[in-house]
Structures are given as structure tokens and as C-alpha cells.
Symmetry: C2
Subunit: 351 residues, 2 copies
DNA sequence: CCTTATCGTTGGAACGTTCCAAGTTTCATG
DNA sequence: CATGAAACTTGGAACGTTCCAACGATAAGG
């Protein structure tokens, strides 16, 4: 038989000989209905094939969607979100928080051409914005009356945000290597302009950071302050700019800074790429060069050698962002602290 | 100033001195409104701070959500979804299809205790079900009038499905190794009962497949048929049962089948774990043992050595499932074909 | 100037639900 | 058996939009 024109709460009410309101209560506030009647209504509903209240009607009346959107904007978008272990941790944290709150999670693809329309039509109460660069998205969301929570970007005071203390983290990393006796540093940074190659020029010295990741500036500042305090000048150090998905950082780095014994980076991802590259190049870590990562992704523990890194509470950050994107009330800002996690990729400076 | 009680299309209509219907048209069918009037209404809307039609009202009237849900049910759930490269490919494929169709994507966590409530309240037109084992979910979804598309599971004829020709794939893999002269096989299968350890017993011979992955039975059948056709008996071969996230397959496999030169598995993931384990054990691939994977995940190309595998069109499968979950009309079933991808993990049988 | 066709605009009627004030029943109590 | 309180049920009124039949204006053709 053909689909029998969608059943509504009214059909059930008629069939069971009760009022619309009662049927609604049976499904949405069972405790308000006498058990005996409730059971009768439930039976009738099952018999005629009614599967419970349609979210459409409920939505309009109740006002709440019971969902948050997770926007991954910017040039890297979706692939990066789940390709990078960091992105994965974020998503998992968000999913956890959603599950705990009993709401659903809508992914909004930042690559999408129709990103603005997507935000306009998104069936969500709040938006979690994963990385920088989406002013129009934020504006539209606010206009719609959504809560917005931004991750890792210092935003408008009116918009909730969660971030980490990247400056302190970077200092921790640099000091750790300084304490181990290192004096010859190299720094790997991220250049976010798509398609540009690594700068291989060996003699290049630069601190110019173009289109960096949201916290790259803070990290660089932390490195700079710690190194300066130790009497070193970051401006005299080799700084290698890469794109985030770049594979051959290691060779380029070695070419640019063959004598560096201490390597500071912007992410675990970079650090692990370098670890792999160095292994291939026969450059031993930590005997010849020490590396400290940044993020504390799970894979770091399984790297060869296991990665010393600055661990940030990624899941906690995601959870917190989700809560903010869900909560009413004034905007809140939190900054989570990070800690040094010493593993095997860092060791004493070679004599 | 406090939030000024949500603005509606009515407020705009009043402020602009036109009817509700006209304002609706301005936003949803601009071509129906005289340009001059349209512009006036748009200006007024902007001035009073109206940000476009609320999806709630639209939804009720229009009926369509413009969204699909991607359910990841079963024991492994969300973590597995994005942790495994295969799961990632699926998600990416679904996301692509959604983007192309201009709809949004809701993730439904199969781990969730309230999975049924989640399905009941999901604001989606259709559901993509990623793996087996969710009869109640399917039933609820159908009841709600959602389209359902199942991936990799032969389901009810009334429910659309997308699958791959796993039997042929498995035969291809086995024949490839047979053609290379191999005669001593070992098979790694998946046991899906959570928490159970690998069976280390060296002499164990079994083909019992408990709670296998959706296509594991087909793969095993394909292996069996190809091997039988070559005069070998799969029942006499060592079959190692593992759990999907098991790390130490390699040692267990070597213990169970030290003389096997050809290894057949259920997934690339397993194959790559074995590759890593064998490297650690000093067992050379393909000189001492050949391995053929199954799935064709991108990471396989970067493995050491690059993995010979049965490549399935994962993204295409995801895309197709998404389309089915979106399309009206009778249920459809497709089976996509796979192909052998020869790389470096397979070679001639040792003399 | 009237007719007719065309293009724009209007306002009533849904869409399926939940809320809520008011009405009805039930039940313990005096 | 009357009373009052508590428990339960009812039906009208939203919620914000889009649809659609009908109406009004405008322009072209006679």
C-alpha cells in the first residue's frame, strides 16, 4: 500500500477517543497521564502506525532545536578536521559533550561554497567555530540568535571563547630545551597561504609569520620570550615556514639549519613529520637533535621516539566550547592551561 | 541592551507596510517581487535587525529538513568512525555528497545510550547507517518516514543499500597470491565481541567466525572459493581471530602460523598493523611473507612497504548512500565493484 | 474607454506540536 | 454524603513560516 498520508497526533487522538493534548502528554510527559490511559493511547498509536511526535511541530512550539553545529571554516576544512589527530580529538570532545547533553551534532563544512546559506538554514541552537577567519559566519549566526563559541581565537568580548595558554606552553617547551643545554635552535612555523612551497633557501632568516594559525603568534611569542630571557636572539635563528599538510619538512629544515640541535614547532603534526623525515635521513633524535611538539595528540606517544610535547586539554577544550555554545547567559571566556610532557624526543644537547 | 524578543516576518511586514506573504517572497522567492519593492523590504529588514526566515517555521510548512543523519551504530561507534582511515573516507564521502546536494549533515553517535531518542528527534530527512546491527534504529526511522540507506549490509529489500562485491574482491586477492606461487596461507579474521583477547594457541585451526564485520563472511567465502579452486583446503589453514582495534596481531600471527608465506586479512588496517609488527619482528615483506589488504585506504600507499590491496570505491559508496538516503522513490540496491591494486607488499613465494 | 491578459500583492489557511487556563474526575476526609 | 484538594483531561491559542486562491493594478489591443 502507498504511504498513507503522514499520521499526526490528531489521528491518534481521534482513534483513541482522547484529546490532542493528552496524546501529546503521553509521548512527551508520560507522568502526567494515568498509566492505564497512557497504555491505551500507546497501543492505539502503535496499531495505527504512529511513530511519535514529529520534530517539526515540536520544534516550532518549543523553540529549541536540541542540536549544535560544529563549523570548520577556512582553507583546510573538512579533510583537515578529521585527518589531523588534533582535529579528531576536537571532534571527539564535541561529540562527547553532545552525547552528555543529549543533543545532536551537525557538521557544517567550512569549505562549502554555500557556507552562509548553510548557517542560515542550520537547525541548531548554537555554533562551535573551530578555527579563525569566519566573520560573516559569526555575524549571521548572531543575527539568527544562535549562541556562538569560538575555539582558539581571541574574539569579540561579546562572543564566548575557549582558548589555551599558548604563550606559557611555548615558554615551557623552550625552557625545557634550554635546561637540557641546547643553544642552537630552529623553529618551524606554519604559513597558511595555500599552495606555496617550503622556502628551501638555506641562509634564510625570518620571523615573518604570514597568515599563521590562530595561536601561532602566541607560540612564537612564548618561544621568543623564553629564548630572549636566556640571552638568545630569535631574530638570528632560522625559521622555516611550511604549509600545514607539508610532508617534507625534515629535509628542508635540515638544509636550512644543519647545525640546530633544538627544534621548536607549532604542532605535534609537524614534529612527527620531522621525526619521520629525520629517521629516513639518518639523523638521530634525541642524540643529534631534540624536538618538542605542541598539542599532545595521542599518536605522539606511539611515535619513534615518543614525542616530548606541550600537552593541551583538547577534549576538555572541545567540551567546554560545546557547553558554551549551548548555554544561555552572557558570553564567557576561558583559557585552559597546558603542561610539558617529557618523553623521548628531547635529550641533552650534544657536547 | 537585552535581546529584543525575536523578530519575525510579521515585524518586517508591519515596518515595511507590506503583507507577510510579500516579505516571505522577498526572502524565499525574490523573483516574484518587483525589484524596487524587494529592495525596500530588504532595507527595512536590515534596519530593524531581521536576519532572514527562521528555519523553524519554514520547516513546519515546507516539510523538508534539508539534512541527512549519519549513524554509526554498534560497539565501536564514534571513535572508530574517525579513527580508522576507512571510517574517515566514508565520512568524507558523505560530507562531499551533502555539500554537493546543499544539505547539512548530522552525526548520530551509535554509542549513545539514547540512540533511539536521538533518532526520534533527529532533524533529518534520511539516515545513512554505516554498519550492521541496528534493527531498532532502522525500524524507528522508517516509522518516522525517513529514507534509510544501509552501507555494506544486505538488508530488507525495502531498504536501500549500497555494498561492494566482497566475494570477488577476496577471490582476486587470493588468486593474486596463488599466481605468485604461494601455497602456505594464513588468514586473519575479525572477532567482534568486545574485550576478548587474541587467541594465541599456535596449533589452533578454525573457521568459526563469531560476530564478524558486515562483509567478513563474504570475504572469507571468497578466500575459500579461490583457495579451493587451487586445490587447497581453507579448513586446514590457520585462521587468527582478532578484535578490530587489536595492536599485536603480527606476533600472534607469527606464533600461530610461522611457516605461512601468504597472509589474507579482512582490512587494510589489519594488514598495516601486521606490516608494522613484522618490521619490528624482523620479518621481511614481501621476501619472507606477502600480505594483501582489503579496502584501499590512502595510508596504504605510504606504508612500508606500500600495501598491495583490494581497492574499494569508499567515497563513491558513501556518496551513493547519501544520495539514496535523500532520494524519494522505491528502495534501490547497488553493489560496487572492487579491484586488485598491486603494490609492494606482495611478491613471489620464497623458494 | 472597455476588455483581456499579465504581473504583483494580499490575507486566510494550513503545517504538527506544546502550553496553559479552565474544566472534570477522583479520592480521602470530616 | 458533602467538601476540598489533588490529579487528570480538555480545547483554544500560539509558534513562524509558506502556500494558494483571489484580488488589484498596469498595460496592450481593440
Amino acid at each position: 500500500m502507498p504511504t498513507p498520508a503522514r499520521l499526526t497526533i490528531n489521528d491518534v487522538a481521534r482513534a483513541a477517543g482522547v484529546s490532542r493534548g493528552t496524546v501529546s502528554n503521553v509521548f512527551s510527559h508520560p507522568e502526567r497521564v494515568r498509566p492505564e490511559l497512557r497504555e491505551r493511547v500507546e497501543t492505539v498509536a502503535r496499531d495505527i502506525g504512529y511513530g511519535g511526535p514529529d520534530p517539526r511541530g515540536r520544534l516550532l512550539r518549543r523553540g529549541k532545536f536540541g542540536a549544535v553545529g560544529y563549523v570548520v571554516p577556512g582553507a583546510y576544512g573538512f579533510v583537515n578536521l578529521i585527518e589531523s589527530p588534533f582535529g579528531r580529538e576536537m571532534l571527539l570532545g564535541v561529540a562527547d559533550a553532545c552525547d552528555a547533553a543529549g543533543i545532536s551534532l551537525t557538521l557544517i563544512d567550512g569549505r562549502a561554497a554555500q557556507i552562509e546559506a548553510a548557517v542560515d538554514n542550520a537547525l541548531v541552537d548554537g555554533l562551535i567555530i573551530g578555527t579563525a577567519g569566519s566573520a560573516p559566519v559569526i555575524e549571521r549566526a548572531m543575527r539568527r540568535g544562535m549562541r556562538v563559541a569560538i575555539v582558539d581565537v581571541a574574539a569579540d568580548a561579546a562572543i564566548s571563547s575557549v582558548s589555551i595558554d599558548a604563550v606559557t606552553g611555548a615558554k615551557l617547551a623552550a625552557r625545557h630545551l634550554l635546561d637540557l643545554g641546547h643553544r642552537r635552535f630552529a623553529i618551524v612555523s606554519v604559513r597558511r597561504t595555500q599552495g606555496e612551497p617550503i622556502d628551501h633557501a638555506p641562509g634564510r632568516r625570518t620571523t615573518t609569520l604570514r597568515d599563521g594559525g590562530p595561536l601561532d603568534r602566541e607560540k612564537l611569542r612564548g618561544y621568543s620570550e623564553a629564548l630572549t630571557a636566556a640571552g638568545l636572539d630569535i631574530n638570528a635563528m632560522p625559521v622555516l615556514e611550511t604549509v600545514p599538510w607539508q610532508a617534507d619538512i625534515g629535509p628542508a629544515l635540515f638544509a636550512a639549519a644543519p647545525d640546530a640541535t633544538a627544534i621548536l614547532v607549532m604542532s605535534d603534526r609537524q614534529a612527527m613529520t620531522i621525526l619521520r623525515d629525520f629517521a629516513r635521513l639518518g639523523r638521530r633524535v634525541p642524540e643529534q637533535a631534540s624536538i618538542v611538539g605542541f598539542d599532545g595528540v595521542p599518536d605522539g606517544a606511539a611515535a619513534l621516539p615518543p614525542l616530548t610535547t606541550i600537552e593541551q586539554p583538547t577534549r576538555e577544550k572541545a567540551r567546554r566550547a560545546t557547553e558554551l555554545a549551548l548555554s544561555a547567559g552572557p558570553a564567557q571566556h576561558s583559557m585552559l592551561s597546558v603542561k610539558l610532557l617529557v618523553r623521548a624526543s628531547s635529550g641533552p644537547a650534544p657536547a
